[in-house]
């Protein structure tokens, strides 16, 4: 009895091994970040379409919430159990490249294939002249403003400069009770980015010549600007309890008159607050006329240890056809990364998206430096201290700049 039990167990194990063995042969595992409810269904559908056209290859989609993506990848990679393809934040790319974890795609990237992309979006995934990833998602930032509130306050259009913005905000405060003029993000991911909009308009840079720009006069001026909005009651109260989604929700509810965020807010408004009258405009410029928006891409990368690189590439090729890209970007509200896709009437005739695409030439991407996440964390912490009014602006930013410099020098 006992012996037969052991035998059965061994057989079962052998069976499992055999099963997993056959599954490996033509299976491409893909880790996908969940951008919205539509992400998983889209990729599963794409996988089915691809499998139908390529019999013998199986695509296995693993959907992970964005917030857990980095944790999953770290644990999977350290255990050698990572998928073949994965979406990663392009700003993490350097860590992956320098550790030799992902493989360049140049063997497959023909000039013809390269020609499919809008260059601005492919460039961040190129390192040392090699293409390490393909831009699966692209986005930029602009100022959303509530047209009804602006009309009530007697404002004719969006502000061109921060000075105009301040004047307009005061009018909104005086004439539209219950509405805060500026939705300011002060919590969680991209708290630092929300500050860079002001920093760039003051002529500052995040990193310049390997040194943090956080202690610069421009950074201090930018922080003073935001702090004056907080103190003057021009922002929602308690900014350090509002994440990006929280501020967007306030805008959808009509409780803040402006918010700076990505194109996907347009599709959210269409679904959740269809009656909201809003416009999209460039982020206000500083006194010297400088302005900047933040460009972001996520890349899909191929891992060095993948045993099915050929099949994986085929799937990538399929994902970046015009049809697939158009479908995906419509679902997610991302910017088109594909030249032909951009001429699709959905994108070409969309007033909101036109604003975003017009801003792209001036878009800045997260600097390609090792330890970027740590610099971002240091920056966000310093900003939260400033927003709370806990400490003087200049010394707080100078301390943070010193910490950031230390991180930049270490790597």
């Amino acid at each position: 009895m006992k012996q037969s039990g052991v035998k059965a167990l061994l057989l079962a194990c052998a069976g499992l091994l055999a099963l997993s063995g056959t599954a490996d042969a033509g299976t491409v595992r893909v880790t996908i970040a969940e951008y919205s409810k539509g992400t998983g269904p889209y990729f599963n559908e794409a996988a089915q379409a691809f499998e139908a056209a390529n019999p013998g290859t199986k695509i296995q989609i693993e959907v992970v919430p964005w917030d857990n993506l980095q944790q999953k990848l770290t644990t999977d990679i350290s255990a050698g159990a990572n998928a073949d393809l994965s979406i990663i934040g392009t700003r993490w790319l350097l860590d992956y490249v320098s550790q030799g974890i992902i493989t360049p795609l140049d063997a497959h990237v023909t000039p013809d294939f390269k020609g499919r992309f809008i260059d601005t979006f492919l460039k961040p995934s190129v390192m040392d002249g090699k293409v390490y990833g393909l831009p699966i998602a692209a986005s930029a930032r602009a100022l959303y403003y509530n047209k009804d509130v602006f009309a009530k306050a007697g404002l004719s259009g969006p502000p061109g400069t921060w000075a105009e913005f301040t004047a307009g905000a005061e009018k909104i405060k005086a004439s539209v009770p219950g509405v805060f003029a500026f939705g300011l993000q002060g919590k969680e991911i991209e708290t630092d980015v929300y500050f860079y909009y002001a920093l760039w308009s003051q002529g500052g840079e995040i990193v310049q010549g390997g040194k943090s720009g956080l202690g610069s006069a421009a950074a201090v001026a930018a922080a003073k600007l935001y702090r004056s909005y907080i103190n003057g009651g021009l922002t929602q109260p308690g900014v350090t309890s509002y994440s990006r989604e929280d501020v967007q929700n306030l805008f959808k509810q009509g409780k803040v008159a402006t918010v700076i965020t990505a194109p996907f807010l347009s599709s959210q408004i269409k679904n959740e607050a269809p009656n909201l009258q809003y416009g999209v405009a460039a982020i206000p410029a500083g006194p010297g006329g400088a302005r900047g928006t933040y460009g972001v891409t996520d890349s899909i990368v191929l891992f060095e240890n993948s045993k099915v690189k050929e099949e994986a590439w085929k799937f990538l090729d399929f994902l970046f056809t015009t049809d697939q890209r158009t479908k995906f970007d419509k679902i997610e509200g991302f910017l088109p990364v594909n030249v032909k896709e951009a001429s699709d009437p959905y994108f070409a005739d969309n007033a909101d998206l036109k604003v975003f695409t017009s801003l792209l030439p001036g878009a800045r991407f997260a600097p390609v430096i090792a330890g970027w996440e740590e610099v971002a964390t240091v920056t966000s912490n310093a900003l939260q201290t400033v927003y709370l009014g806990r400490a003087e602006i200049e010394p707080t930013l100078r301390d943070a700049a010193a910490k950031a410099d230390e991180i930049l020098a270490k790597k």
Binding site: T74, D95, K187, T240, A382
Partner: protein, 289 residues
């Protein structure tokens, strides 16, 4: 001798399993903590205690360590203070006791993360239920931004922790109360003892072993509890609500400092080991008594 050998033989398989589950990861973590590690877990140079030194030089870590103690003491103490009366009431005989017991146990059925997310919405400054409730009662004029500052966020997090720990603790205490014989109260009542005296001289002493167990188990759970703080503030603003687990998570997975994260988890393991030893001693003393 023979009996003893048999006993050890019978214990051996489960001991080996436990050792494999506990000791092997421990060895791995010690290894990580003593090395310079890249963000994907690849060991580089041996670095001795450098990771620990970095930690103790970081004021955020020291603050998180201290805050973890406050958090644990606050949640465990608060839970006990609420659970003992609740258990006493639920032990009494009254109409609808079954329903009342179910209601007290309900929070247990909801995942901790979900509880925390619901609270995050409830505590939202402009559209949260708590503010609108307090305004409706006329207790506040303007909205309170509960999660904007540690001074309001951290006490609320402790309250959420208490709410989440009550069902488990009440269950333990109810088990204890049902083992107290009713005759003792009858006899005490004849001798003229009031309700307070009965509680002080009969209930409390007989309940003590159960309270001890509740304290130690809750301490272990709460000390390691991640979801409440993470879902409400992620340890912010500016690390002012970080406890050791959230500090560890950020160091390991956001900043990619796996060596330091491993060192934090060893320190946490050390602290909890002390509590576990206390637990074992309590359990043994109770057995001996």
């Amino acid at each position: 001798m023979g009996r003893r050998a048999t006993a050890y033989c019978l214990i051996l398989p489960s001991f080996l399993l436990a050792a494999f589950i506990v000791l092997w990861p421990l060895k791995e973590i010690i290894n990580l903590a003593l090395h310079d590690v890249n963000r994907f877990g690849l060991l580089r140079a041996f670095s001795g205690l450098a990771n620990f030194r970095t930690l103790f030089a970081d004021p955020d870590f020291l603050a998180a360590l201290w805050r973890t103690l406050v958090w644990t003491a606050g949640v465990v103490g608060g839970t006990l203070a609420v659970s003992v009366p609740v258990a006493l009431m639920l032990n009494g005989d009254f109409y609808g006791r079954g329903a009342a017991r179910v209601i007290v146990m309900l929070p247990w059925a909801v995942s901790l993360t979900m509880t925390a997310i619901v609270w995050r919405w409830a505590l939202s400054g402009e559209s949260g239920m708590l503010n609108s409730g307090l305004r409706g009662l006329g207790l506040i004029d303007g909205n309170i931004q509960w999660l904007a500052e540690a001074s309001t966020a951290f006490p609320m997090q402790i309250l959420i922790g208490i709410e989440a720990s009550i069902p488990f603790t009440t269950t333990i205490l109810l088990g204890g109360l049902s083992s107290v014989p009713d005759e003792l109260y009858d006899a005490a009542a004849i001798e003229g003892a009031g309700a307070w005296d009965q509680f002080r001289f009969i209930t409390l002493p007989l309940l003590r072993p159960f309270i001890n167990i509740a304290v130690v188990l809750n301490t272990i759970y709460v000390f390691n509890s991640f979801p409440i703080i993470w879902a409400t503030t992620q340890g912010g603003p500016a690390n002012s609500t970080d406890i050791l687990v959230t500090y560890l998570y950020k160091a390991g997975f956001r900043l990619g400092k796996l060596g330091e994260a491993a060192a934090v988890s060893l320190i946490m393991f050390g602290v909890l080991l002390v509590f576990t030893l206390i637990y074992v001693r309590l359990a043994m003393r109770e057995e001996a008594a």
